[in-house]
Subunit: 351 residues, 2 copies
């Protein structure tokens, strides 16, 4: 297969982790006779510095004409601590999600047998966890009108949802549940928010289309608690943009490290693959960041292209590296650790 | 001391848990020579059924003229599963918070020596946790304009903050931090939300007033993760209404049970004390709910009235009940358990 993959390394540790995923993908291509042509493009603070905006048109063209996008991370403390900055890296991410029509963010949470005791949670609570949070990604308070009023003394953001936005996300959730344990949980705050009530009403109306799926409804505060108490109680969770942002980061502690959790964003022609972690600026340039979340995101990429063997091969070699302790310092617990680039090299060599 | 306390039992398990707190307070009053006059009043679904609205004027008058309010819980599944209901129990809670000017919700998270192994989290991660989440309670998306548009196909909620709302909450946070470990963490989503940028900007501007306090800023998604990974890293957290709702429920898993975590809501003349758990309808009427969160909320009530010995006595007897296994079934782990009312009786007798 011939593949064009847009490569958006972004900020902080983005370039380092993306480099390792490239090594792994190239090794896979070599073994399974594919030809990957990588198309690097600018995004985030890196793009602001180079061309003044975080998701330049040229980057969009590269993404839109590729078979998939592999994304690192964006964000820079320089902007975080300046609430008045006009242009910010995150705007690039949001613009990209919107322009590529990536309305569904798929974030699986699972455990790794060899890491299970590294989790802050007890083994019996998490062993066997296998859930997916399907986060709405191009609507909600991330995209509603926002601004200042009253001489800069009032700020507002608007949380808006349209029925069709909820429907298309929920449909993916129902379909996913059908292929898994047939359990769907809609997480909202319908006891307070009108937009959540539209979520609940819309999902309720779809239940009859999928009679085999058991649907439950939970308030986001309760889910934030139950997700830690008993993650095995969940199969597929569907939720709004902001709630999904919070719950997926929270869920990452189950696996023991945020540095392990991959994601895909889908919805239109081209899909995007990225680790759920951020740009982790403190670690940038030090060759210490964990590349596995990005490598596992690449596995999701192959999976979605129905290159199942390739995806499995990546997961196999990742598990092997964990079992043999070829890990970055976040997973080493004071034991021997490897550099980001060394982990990447090891993975590529073992494919 | 002569005390008038408004008693708002509310829905679900509310009446049962509040009853036990009353027994405990009466025992305290007896021992320390206070006179408590309880003023029961309607709220929640119970009030809707009785008089058609969840926070009747009469209830407000009783609250406003009391020295404090003891609150159970509100909420009923009948409303949760009917997104089109016009009157809902939660509106009562929100109206009450607003009309009583309760802009700051104080939610401590701590561990109990005798329960530490019941937490889903590992002992070394949580032992010694002592943090307070100070949640803004009368602003944000809970109180902004909301509604439907486009023939009912679009729903919106508005997340609004005014500078003074952030300032008064943050000031409480700074003051609290000064009395504790002098660490304040402002949790927001300033990389996306304008209202969060106003939070960050406002808190930044206040830093110079409290030079001894070390202030940090975090995005809510990161906090949702770190709170579980390393709760001991936090001292006082200040945050917006919705974020506080999610994070405080999440934090309750640290102590091992939501049935243990008390809260106070303050801001104006009269303060309110309530467990952080909800109405838990599945358990209502069964005499099985854990009353300790409400009992410990009563301890916060005495504390705020500067009746420190009384507050300590309540905490002592609660710890004693836990150590001796006089607990409801949620904490019994299959061992011997006691009824809600039996726990209340035991506590009162041991004061
Ligand atoms: C960087 C930020 C804007 C982004 C988000 O909130 O969506 C990130 O946290 C994520 O989850 O991908
Ligand atoms: C019942 C509900 C409206 C309420 C809230 O969201 O504030 C509850 O979850 C709480 O935290 O007190």
């Amino acid at each position: 297969m011939k593949l064009n993959i847009a490569l958006l390394a972004g900020d902080g540790i983005g370039p380092e982790v993306v480099d390792q995923a490239v090594k792994v993908c190239d090794a896979i291509a070599n073994k399974y006779n594919h030809e990957i042509s990588w198309k690097p493009a600018l995004t985030g603070a890196a793009a602001i510095d180079a061309v003044g905006e975080p998701y330049p048109d040229e980057t969009h063209e590269i993404c839109a004409s590729s078979d998939a996008v592999l994304f690192g991370a964006i964000g820079h403390p320089r902007f975080d601590n300046d609430p008045s900055a006009k242009v910010r890296p995150e705007q690039g991410l949001l613009k990209m999600r919107q322009k590529l029509g990536l309305f569904a963010n798929v974030r699986p949470t699972f455990t790794f047998p060899s890491l299970i005791d590294k989790s802050p949670l007890k083994r019996d609570r998490i062993e066997g966890t296998d859930l997916i949070i399907l986060r709405e990604l191009t609507g909600g308070v991330y995209f509603g009108e926002r601004g200042r009023k009253d001489d800069n003394n009032t700020a507002f953001d608007t949380m808006t949802y349209q029925r069709f936005e909820i429907e298309r996300l929920a449909r993916k959730g129902f379909e996913m549940a059908m292929k898994r344990s047939k359990k769907l949980c809609c997480v909202d705050k319908a006891n307070v928010l009108e937009s959540s009530r539209l979520w609940r009403e819309t999902v309720q109306a779809m239940e009859k289309e999928f009679p085999e799926v058991t649907v439950s409804y939970e308030f986001v505060d309760a889910t934030a608690m139950r997700l830690i108490q008993w993650p095995k109680g969940y199969d597929v969770i569907i939720t709004a943009n902001l709630f999904g942002d919070i719950l997926t980061d929270e869920a990452s502690v189950i696996s023991g490290s945020m540095g392990l959790m991959p994601s895909s964003s889908v919805g239109s022609k081209v899909s995007l693959y990225e680790p759920i972690h951020g740009s982790y600026p403190q670690a940038a340039g030090k060759d210490i960041a964990n590349p596995l979340a990005t490598v596992l995101s690449a596995a999701m990429l192959f999976e979605d292209l129905e290159l199942t063997k390739e995806a499995e091969e990546i997961r196999r070699v990742v598990n092997k590296s964990l079992a043999e302790g070829i890990v970055t310092e976040d997973l080493a617990e004071g034991g021997k650790s490897y550099k980001t680039s060394e982990v990447g090299d090891w993975l590529a060599k073992n494919i």
